[in-house]
Symmetry: C2
Subunit: 344 residues, 2 copies
Amino acid sequence: MNDLNRQWVLAKEAYGEGMCLPEDCFGYNEAGIPESGEGEILVRNVYFACEPAVHAMVRGVPGRIDPLPVGSVMRGSAAGVVVESNHPDYQAGELVNGSFEWADYTVMGGTDPRGNPVNKLITGYPMASAMTTLGMSGVCAYIGMFRIGKPVPGDTVVVSAAAGGIGSIAGQLAKLSGARVIGITSSAEKARRLVEEVGYDDAIDYRGEDLVGRLAELAPEGVNVFFDNAGGPILDAVLVNLANWGRIAICGGASSYQNPDVGVKSHMLLAQRNGLMRGFWLFDNADIIPEALARIGRWHKAGLIKDVLDIAEGFEAVPRAARGIFDGANMGKQLVRISDDPTA
Amino acid sequence: MNDLNRQWVLAKEAYGEGMCLPEDCFGYNEAGIPESGEGEILVRNVYFACEPAVHAMVRGVPGRIDPLPVGSVMRGSAAGVVVESNHPDYQAGELVNGSFEWADYTVMGGTDPRGNPVNKLITGYPMASAMTTLGMSGVCAYIGMFRIGKPVPGDTVVVSAAAGGIGSIAGQLAKLSGARVIGITSSAEKARRLVEEVGYDDAIDYRGEDLVGRLAELAPEGVNVFFDNAGGPILDAVLVNLANWGRIAICGGASSYQNPDVGVKSHMLLAQRNGLMRGFWLFDNADIIPEALARIGRWHKAGLIKDVLDIAEGFEAVPRAARGIFDGANMGKQLVRISDDPTA
C-alpha cells in the first residue's frame, strides 16, 4: 500500500464562454491516506468512469444535484476495493462502486459523498464489466430502450452518442429486439467500428455527413425508436425523420452541456407524427434495476452483449479523459485505471 | 337564395419575414352559384371556423397537407346547410361540416376539398356548438387531455392558448377530472374572463406577467399535466415548472407558426423529471371520436361543459378573423357567421 493519496480538486469555476469542463479546471493535490473511523470503510479506487454527470457535479442540476464548491476533491462514478472495513455491511476485499472522490483512497460510511449507498459490484464478472454493462450504464440503456422506446422486430432504431458508454449498450439491446439499428457518432472511424465491432447495422458520422439526408436514406420508412444522448440539432434531424407513432427516449443532451442555448426546433413534428418523447431519471426508476441486471447479465454471459470499453491508464490521465467524452474522443465507455484491478 | 357566390382566394404567397397569414394575402372574388351535378351536394355555408390549420393549408405540412396554390379559393373548417342533394347519403336541410371553400356556396361530392368525408353535424345541438365543442375542437381537447395528459384529482393542469377554441374546452375537461387548472393566455382581460366565465382556477397573462415565476407561485409542487398549443418560450416556462412524472400533450405550436426558428431549450428537463411529451394527429386518433363525442355531449347537456365562442359577423370579416387568432384576438373559438343559422 502506497502511503500517498493523490487527489484531483476542483480548482476554479469550470464554466465560462459556454465551455464545458476545461481540463485545467482540475488541480493536482497530494494528501496522506485517510483513516477509517467507526462505521466507515476505506476504499482503494481502481477505475474512474468518465460520464456526462461529472459536468452536472460541477455545475449542479437545479433541484437534483448541488454544485461542488471550488476547492473540493472532485467526484464521479468509480469502482474500488474495500481495504479496511469498520462497517458491518462491508468486508475487506469486496468490490464496490458509487460516486467516489477522484483520489487513490476514499473513506466513507455506508453512503458515498453524493448520499447514495455504496453499492457492491455484481459478482462473477470482471470489475470493468460489472461497473459499466452490468452497472448504471447498462441500466440506463435498459430503461430508455425497454421502458420508453419498446422496439419490436422490424422497427428502425437510432441511437445517438452511439459509441458512448450508454449508447453502445442501447444499440446492442435494440439489436436483440430484432430491430434494425443505426448509430450516430462523431467520426468516420467510430462509425466503422460501430458496425464492425459493436454490431450496428449502419452508423453515421454526423460531423462528416449530412445527417438528415443519411437518416432519410437509411430509414426510408422513418425512425420508430430514438435513444437520444445528444439533443440539439441531432434530435432535430431525427424528429424530421421520425415515423408515425415514433418513440424518443431522452437519456442525455450532450449538445446542451456545451451550449445551454442549443434548442430543439422541430418538436411540433411530434404532433404531426403522434410522437412520444420521454425522459427518465435513473434513481426514480430504481424499481427496474433487478430486472435489468438479471437480463443484461444473462445476455452478457451468453455473449449476446459485449462490453465496449475505452480504458486510459494512470491517475494523471483523469482530467483529460473526463474532458474527452464531451469531444467524442472515446470509443465505448471511457474508464481510467488508476491502480491494480484484482479481477484482471 | 342570393344568386351571388362570394369567395376569398389566396391572392399571393402568404409567407415572408416570418409573418403568418397577413390579412392582405386574401383577395375578394365574386362568382355565380355553382350547380350540383350527379352525386354532388350544394352547401350554403353558415359558419367559418378560424383555426391554426388555415396556416397549414396555405404553407402545407410536409407529408401531411399539400400547400394550396396561389389563386385557389381558400379553404378551412366550416359548417353549412345542404341546399340541394344529388348524393344518396345527404338530404336537403341537413347540417354538414368539413374543410369547405371560403365562399357562400360549395359544391362537393361525398368528400370535402381536402378529401375527407363531408361530415354530418351531430343533431340536437345549436349548429355553433355542434361544430366546435361537439366537433373536432372538442375531440382534440379530449385526446390531448385523456389519451396523453390523464389528469387525476389533485393534479395541477396548465393549458396554453387557454382561451382558444381547443384550450377553452381542454381546461373544462381538466376541471371535470378534479384537477386544479391554470390557463395561460395573451391578455389580462382574457385571463380575468377565463377565471370568471370559463371556470379556470387561475390564469396568467404571459405578455404582462413573468410566466416562469407566476407558474412557480401557482403550482409550487409543479405542473402535472400541460396541454400545449403554444410551443417556444411558453413550453420552456412550463418545462421549468414541470413536476416529476409530468405529462405534456402537444396539440399545437402557435409560436412556431409565427417564427419557425423558435425552439424549445429545456427539453432535457424531461430527463430530470421523468417527463413525457407526446403529440397527436387528430385523424390518426379517429378511433376515439365516438367515445369523445358521446361523453362531451353528455357533459354539455348537463351544463358541465359550455361553449366558449367568439362570433364575428359577415363574409367580409373572414380574413381579419382568420388572422386574429394568431394575435390572440379571440376569446373562445373564433367563428364567422356568413349567413342565417337555421338552429339559432
